[in-house]
């Protein structure tokens, strides 16, 4: 599903964000991308949605080299990849329903389909009763659920989550990951970048550990780190 071949990303000022990374992620996998801040997790995710270009190396998504993708096709790549961020990125003046519906509107879905699917997905994430609430009326955990609903509403085959529990109350963090697990169980490939040791150790998924831009460990049913 996702293949990185000797991918290196150097930012301005000769800062190595990723160095010689080769990784294969199969369809339907759930992967924790772990490592301390600045280890290259966010860059990894930005490269997958073509927000950044690798300095060298190739990235394949569903056997397509995305480095060769014409810029007008990038939006279609992004429709296949749902994204969730630490800061939620919800629109403050739109309700929960409108925030999720927005992802369907801008990709040209019909009003009828929107009316039908948005409540369904919001129910799936446990917010079926808060359709008309505004983001600032919700807790961090609830806001993150809205953003997951928005990422998932168009049923992308891949879901990327960059520190999704970072701004969520620790007691609610496990609930967020369980939700991602649920989305993974219907066949969605999920990659979650995190430095939450407890979460990683609890859920026991494949772990790809980054340090200073290099993959230092890739382990099935792994833990956060050896100690």
């Amino acid at each position: 599903m996702i293949r990185l071949r000797r991918v290196t990303k150097i930012y301005k000022g000769n800062i190595y964000a990723l160095e010689d990374v080769t990784v294969d992620i199969e369809k339907g996998e759930f992967v924790f991308l772990v490592g301390p801040s600045g280890s290259g997790k966010s860059t990894f995710i930005k490269l997958l949605i073509k927000e950044e270009e690798p300095t060298s190396g190739q990235i394949y998504i569903a056997d397509n080299n995305i480095g060769e993708l014409r810029s007008w096709k990038v939006p279609y790549l992004r429709r296949k990849i749902g994204c969730v961020f630490q800061d939620f990125r919800l629109l403050p003046h739109k309700t929960v329903f409108q925030n999720v519906a927005f992802a369907m509107e801008v990709t040209g879905k019909s009003r009828q389909l929107i009316e039908q699917q948005v409540p369904e997905v919001l129910k799936l994430v446990g917010l079926g009763h808060k359709l008309d609430a505004f983001p600032d009326e919700l807790s961090g955990g609830e806001q993150q659920r809205v953003s997951i609903a928005r990422a998932f509403i168009n049923r992308p085959p891949i879901l990327l989550a960059d520190e999704p529990t970072g701004n969520v109350d620790p007691s609610l963090a496990a609930g967020i990951v369980k939700l991602l697990e649920k989305i993974n169980s219907v066949g969605t490939t999920v990659i979650m970048a995190t430095h939450d040791r407890e979460i990683v150790n609890t859920f026991r998924k494949r772990v790809i550990a980054l340090e200073n831009g290099r993959v230092i460990r890739d382990q099935d049913r792994g833990v956060y780190g050896y100690e």
């Binding site: 939006p75 990125r89 927005f102």
Partner: protein, 299 residues
């Protein structure tokens, strides 16, 4: 259909949000296109007037005293014909009756002008065309000094100095006018571009989310482009109204009161101007948005 509604909704809500800037942009577009319209009409009037006069270049009018005899008149004609600079086939003698008829046909709308007259005040005249228009002054002088003409004419008139002045004015008016229009058009483009920049900035969160969920580049751009084009079109409509107001309330009375200048405006030009101004407004708007999108919205 869905998409169209979306674009319209976004455009209108965005226009509402930055009303003051949008009004300024519309006003500047209106001023520049309004001036364009007036300059085009002004150029037309001037060039028509010059054309009317130009057919008289090289023309000398010799207005005769009423009391001259037939023999004296024939003698004068012979003198004229003897001059090598004169186009002999185009020497015309206009009797007093001819002059009156010509006057009537030039002012068909004002019959009262001549009905008031008890007798014909217009003099008989010779109309002489020189082969080389530049020789007009010289020929007129020589005729005036010829013994056959002494004491027998009222006035000898040549048209060219007036035309020269008019042509000078025309050239200046045309260059200055179009220069002003170009400068104002550039200013309008920049101002529209600023309103679109503000609109882009106001919606940066939405734009970020749109990119994230895979909205196509044109889906993101369209509302901004239509916003610019609507500003341009609004300005154009104001300009069109202004041009018509000027035509009806300023030009028409002016033409009446300065009827002796025989100024004319090609009326059909007015109807050519309407689509040209409308299109100009839309183009200014589209170009302004385009500049803003290029600089501030990398998709």
């Amino acid at each position: 259909m869905n998409k169209l509604l979306y674009v319209l909704e976004e455009t209108l809500s965005s226009l509402r949000k930055n009303v003051i800037l949008a009004v300024a942009a519309v006003a500047v577009v209106a001023v520049s296109l309004g001036i364009l319209g007036l300059v085009v009409l002004g150029v037309n009037v001037l060039s028509n007037t010059i054309k009317n006069s130009e057919s008289k270049v090289g023309e000398i009018n010799i207005y005769l005293k009423d009391e001259i005899t037939e023999t004296e008149r024939v003698e004068m004609q012979r003198v004229i014909e003897s001059m090598p600079e004169v186009n002999k086939e185009k020497i015309v003698y206009k009797s007093k009756a001819d002059a009156l008829n010509e006057f009537k046909s030039q002012h068909p709308d004002n019959p009262e002008l001549w009905e008031l007259l008890e007798e014909n005040p217009l003099p008989a005249s010779f109309v002489v065309i020189t082969l080389d228009p530049a020789k007009v002054g010289e020929v007129a002088n020589r005729l005036g000094e010829d013994p056959a003409f002494q004491g027998k004419y009222e006035r000898i008139k040549t048209a060219s100095p007036v035309i020269e002045k008019l042509e000078n004015v025309y050239e200046k008016f045309r260059y200055v006018g179009f220069l002003v229009v170009i400068v104002l058009a550039v200013v309008s483009v920049l101002l529209v571009s600023v309103t679109i920049q503000v609109a882009i900035f106001a919606r940066r969160r939405e734009i970020a989310v749109m990119k994230l969920v895979g909205a196509t580049n044109w889906f993101i751009r369209w509302p901004f482009l239509t916003e610019g084009m609507m500003e341009g079109l609004a300005g154009a409509l104001i300009a069109i109204i202004t041009v018509f107001v000027v035509k009806i309330w300023l030009w028409n009375p002016l033409k009446e009161s300065l009827a002796f200048l025989r100024m004319t405006m090609s009326e059909s030009l007015l109807w050519v101007l309407v689509p040209v101004i409308a299109l100009g407004g839309i183009l200014i708007g589209a170009f302004g948005s385009f500049v803003a999108l290029r600089r501030f919205l990398e998709v």
